[in-house]
């Protein structure tokens, strides 16, 4: 084991040229992850980055860590194997809205319910980038894409709702164009012990440019989104003059003073789920930040605990014990 040194973001840059389109939102996420990793006090060799297939999934090649560029949709399953096999590793999953929610949707929800201790960063650009512009499970209905020339008909997932419905212990949202916010959220995810699901709004300049513009552009961002900070009042607006209050099961806009306090650590995922309803209300800000963060034993931990407990009880089995069981007999 090497001595843990203070690492820098650049220590996490591999020698491979980054090959996303100029202007792609992926760049800022790459740098956000590199910064976050550097600050965690974990030696570089203990990081493993696993991805599926997609523009976003090229990510591991750009990271000077252990990495696996998997197959389409299977990153969560591969990463589960890595983490359960060796819980000392810090395992990160990089996936896209197609990779992680379309073909990989099942592994996603199952790894969330199992609470495998890994950080899942979902690059949501509401499009299939790598295959050049087809609608994805998060593309808004009616969008014209290469496979929906007359408008898409599929009602999209809300990734936050899906993660909550699957029983995720940590659910958060951030955006490519706000590195500071991203860093906070990634760090909270990294510090969470368990499966941490982070949706990142990511702009695809080529096939879906400006998908999030009306929420993320500097001019409107403060009005159209709200950053939920655990234990703090829910305040938004350019002048931080507005608040949200969760009065009688309905969420309403109020003054900053009247705003309710946001608590993502409550037992029930209900309040977080209620909060996602804002995504459907054009006049309300969309929630960003940490929507849920609760403790639950992780699968990897439990697996090792069980191995330990059984071994403690039965004693470590030798190769001979395995083969020569009590029910055998001897022929002379």
């Amino acid at each position: 084991m090497s001595v843990v040194q203070q690492l820098k973001a650049k220590d996490f840059k591999s020698d491979q040229e980054v090959r996303w389109c100029p202007g792609c939102g992926d760049y800022s996420i790459l740098s956000g992850v590199q910064k976050t990793m550097a600050d965690m006090g974990i030696p570089r060799e203990n990081y493993v980055v696993v991805s599926g297939i997609g523009c976003s999934s090229r990510f591991p090649y750009y990271m000077e860590t252990y990495g696996m560029h998997g197959i389409h949709g299977r990153a969560n399953a591969i990463a589960t194997g890595v983490k359960v096999a060796n819980p000392d590793l810090s395992v990160w999953v990089i996936t896209g809205d197609g990779d992680g929610l379309s073909i990989g949707g099942n592994h996603m929800i199952h790894s969330l319910r199992r609470n495998v201790d890994m950080k899942i960063i979902l690059f949501n650009n509401e499009i299939y980038g790598l295959t050049k512009g087809q609608y994805s499970p998060t593309t808004p209905e009616g969008t014209k894409t290469k496979t929906s020339p007359y408008g898409s008909l599929d009602h999209p997932f809300n990734p936050i709702q899906l993660a909550l419905g699957a029983g995720a212990t940590f659910v958060a949202r951030t955006m490519d164009v706000n590195p500071k916010h991203m860093k906070q959220v990634l760090q909270a995810a990294a510090e969470h012990k368990g499966a941490a699901f982070v949706e990142v709004w990511q702009n695809c300049v080529i096939f879906n440019d400006g998908a999030y513009k009306s929420w993320t552009e500097k001019a409107v961002r403060d009005e159209k989104t709200i950053n939920l900070v655990p234990g703090e009042k829910m305040i938004f607006g350019k002048d931080r003059d507005k608040g949200l209050s969760t009065d009688g099961c309905r969420i309403t806009v109020c003054s900053a003073e009247e705003a309710s306090v946001w608590d993502p650590t409550v037992d029930s995922a209900g309040p977080a789920f209620m909060m996602t309803q804002l995504d459907n209300e054009p006049d309300m800000p969309r929630p960003m930040g940490v929507l849920r963060s609760v403790d639950r034993p992780t699968l990897d931990q439990q697996v090792w605990d069980q191995v330990g407990a059984v071994t403690g009880k039965k004693g470590e089995g030798t190769l001979k014990d395995l083969i020569y069981t009590p029910d055998c007999w001897v022929v002379e």
């Binding site: 990495g67 696996m68 890595v82 359960v84 697996v303 089995g317 007999w329 001897v330 022929v331």
Partner: protein, 614 residues
């Protein structure tokens, strides 16, 4: 003991048949355990319905268990039983035809009411309508006898009746002079917490035994002496899936690794997962995943992390794993994929046997993606083959497919345990030195070196895109792809250097060579031995390694006039051999009936071939 005549037999087959609820599997298993202890060689074949509980009394609900035991070496669960136990009309009617002429049928007349006959779709009673002429029928109201034996016991009627299989077992123990002790001990252990059940079953078992003795129902009884020339050693009765489970754990140990099994239940492979989940104190991790794809993907992840990844499944599951298997091929990670074959296509006949996944195993991946394939032949061979698969996977850094089938999975036989010294380790050496490290650096066997996450200075990325042969970076270079394709191919073919040329059993040269693989081994060997006894120069070649094929085969093939390949599929190994060795002619002999070959039908077919003009 008995005053009856004691006849010595060399070789006996008994089939227990009854309703799914009658406990025939348990009866068979107990008879097997006792027979193993007595020192006979044996082989078994359970055959149960696909439904958890098919409607009681129907033909579809019949559950069977056949055991073949002998005082010499045997290879199959027997062609035609000497004894049939039929617990109800459906069991009788669906099984009696297999019995050898003059064989004994023990019938439970307590289950032969009009209603019972109707459920079995019978218009008349086979006990009285002449159906069974030519057999020695022993009728007994086992239900009634069981109730009587338990008359003074505090159990419900239902619970009492459930003991009837032990009455049957008792009778058959008497008939074949088996000791009761092993079963009595087992009952003690099994019903530790329900002593009343242990006692009731013990009572009934003894009652059945005594009944056989007292009433002279069978006009004589038999003994099958233990195998006299059995090689000295320690033995254990083993089922195929169990053999695979412990073989996989042992194989990982011999590689110096801890096993990781990522799996999803599927008949008939589930037992392996079940068995391995019991072995937590052997450093075994099992994860039952959400599907077969997640099963293999976690195993790939675990291998990347430095464990030995494994995944177990049957045909439909293998179909789902093919894309991920390709990832293991291109990333060159060790991985053992077990396919316990069953009847196909699609869901097919999930509880029946077939060998029809061979070509799927060979070719069922996109791109040129060869993998080594090992196939086991019997429950006792399963352990060795599992170790062999682990050896190839780790020594050559490659996924390996290990083929078994439903017949092996559920069959049992005595397994001569390997000497611990004979288990030669083949330890993996992880690379730790950053000096000159690249992920695709290879040894003389073309295996790439394996660096485990957590090792400082060896950070690297692998993945499904083609990689540069030197740097390991993504490469679209045409020459590099040609080169890497050839290396992957050569590496797998190179496994050949580490496997022996199989020996021909029987004649070394002559008229007929029978080439078999997997579970057809037993019946083939028996058939060839019988041919030899008849003076035919016949040989049996069993292939444990399906890919790469071992060296030296053409030399063997050349020594025989004809070559035939019996398979429980439509000729898959024959196709492969024919394309590899076009200079020889491989005759097919196929059977896809969900049942293993019988030695007799093989022999008959071989004789036909020998008669044909070539």
């Amino acid at each position: 003991m008995s005053s009856e005549e004691l006849i010595t037999q060399d070789d006996v087959t008994i089939r227990f048949a009854g309703d799914s609820g009658d406990g025939m599997q348990l009866t068979g298993t107990q008879f097997t355990a006792t027979t193993a202890k007595v020192g006979n060689d044996l082989a078994t074949f359970p055959d149960f319905p696909a439904e958890i509980r098919a409607p009681a009394g129907t033909r579809a609900g019949v559950s069977g268990f056949q055991i073949h035991f002998s005082s010499h070496d045997i290879y199959t669960p027997g062609d035609d039983p000497n004894v049939l136990v039929a617990m109800n009309p459906a069991a009788l009617i669906t099984n009696y035809k297999d019995l050898r002429p003059g064989g004994i049928i023990l019938v439970n007349t307590g289950a032969f009411t009009e209603a019972d006959l109707k459920k079995a779709e019978l218009d008349s009673n086979p006990l009285t309508d002449g159906t069974l002429s030519g057999f020695r029928v022993v009728e007994e109201d086992i239900n009634q006898r069981t109730m009587e034996a338990l008359a003074d016991t505090e159990l419900s009627k239902k619970d009492k009746l459930r003991c009837k299989n032990f009455y049957t077992l008792g009778m058959i123990y008497w008939l074949y002079s088996r000791p009761l002790e092993p079963t009595l001990e087992w009952l003690q252990e099994k019903f530790k917490n329900k002593p009343e059940l242990a006692e009731a079953n013990a009572k009934v078992l003894k009652a059945g035994y005594n009944h056989g003795e007292l009433l002279r129902l069978f006009q004589g009884h038999y003994e099958v002496p233990k195998v006299h020339d059995a090689p000295a050693g320690t033995y254990r009765n083993i089922m195929g899936n169990q053999g695979l489970a412990i073989g996989l754990v042992a194989g990982a140990r011999l590689a110096g690794l801890k096993p990781f099994l990522g799996s999803y239940p599927i008949t008939p492979a589930t037992d392996i997962l079940q068995h391995m989940s019991l072995l937590k104190n052997y450093d075994v991790i099992t994860c039952q995943m959400e599907d077969e794809i997640a099963g293999i993907c976690t195993a790939i992840g675990a291998s990347f992390a430095g464990r030995l990844g494994m995944t177990t499944t049957s045909g439909p599951g293998l179909a789902l794993k093919t894309e991920a298997a390709g990832l293991a091929v291109i990333t060159e990670l060790p991985l053992v994929i077990v396919d316990v074959q069953r009847g196909g296509p699609s869901t097919g006949l999930p509880t029946k046997v077939e060998q029809s996944d061979l070509l799927q195993a060979m070719f069922g991946r996109n791109g040129d993606a060869a993998v080594p394939i090992v196939a086991c032949a019997s429950p006792s061979d399963a352990f060795d083959c599992a170790v062999e698969a682990c050896r190839i996977a780790t020594q050559y850094m490659t996924p390996v497919i290990l083929l078994s089938d439903n017949y092996i999975a559920n069959g049992a036989e005595p397994w001569k345990l390997p000497d611990m010294d004979a288990l030669k380790p083949f330890p993996v050496e992880f690379v730790t030195d950053p000096e000159g490290f690249t992920p695709y650096r290879r040894d003389e066997k073309l295996a790439r070196n394996w660096a485990k996450p957590g090792t400082p200075g060896l950070e690297h990325r692998i993945g499904g895109l083609e990689k540069d042969a030197v740097t390991g970076n993504v490469s679209y270079d045409p020459e590099n792809h040609q080169k890497m394709t050839e290396i992957r191919r050569a590496k797998v073919l190179g496994v050949r250097e580490s496997i022996p040329t199989p020996e021909v059993h029987g004649a070394e040269s002559g008229d007929l060579l029978v080439v078999a693989w997997g579970s057809t081994m037993g019946a083939t060997r028996a058939a060839v031995e019988r041919l030899q006894k008849d003076g035919v120069a016949a040989g049996h070649l069993h292939l444990r390694h399906i890919w790469p094929l071992p060296k030296g085969l053409p030399e063997i093939f050349a020594r025989f006039k004809k070559i035939v390949v019996p398979e429980m599929n439509t000729g898959q190994l024959a196709l492969l051999l024919q394309s590899e060795y076009p200079e020889f002619r491989f005759l097919k002999f196929d059977k896809v009936m969900g049942k293993p070959f019988r030695a007799r039908e093989l022999k008959a077919h071989f004789e036909e071939i020998l008669e044909e003009k070539s």
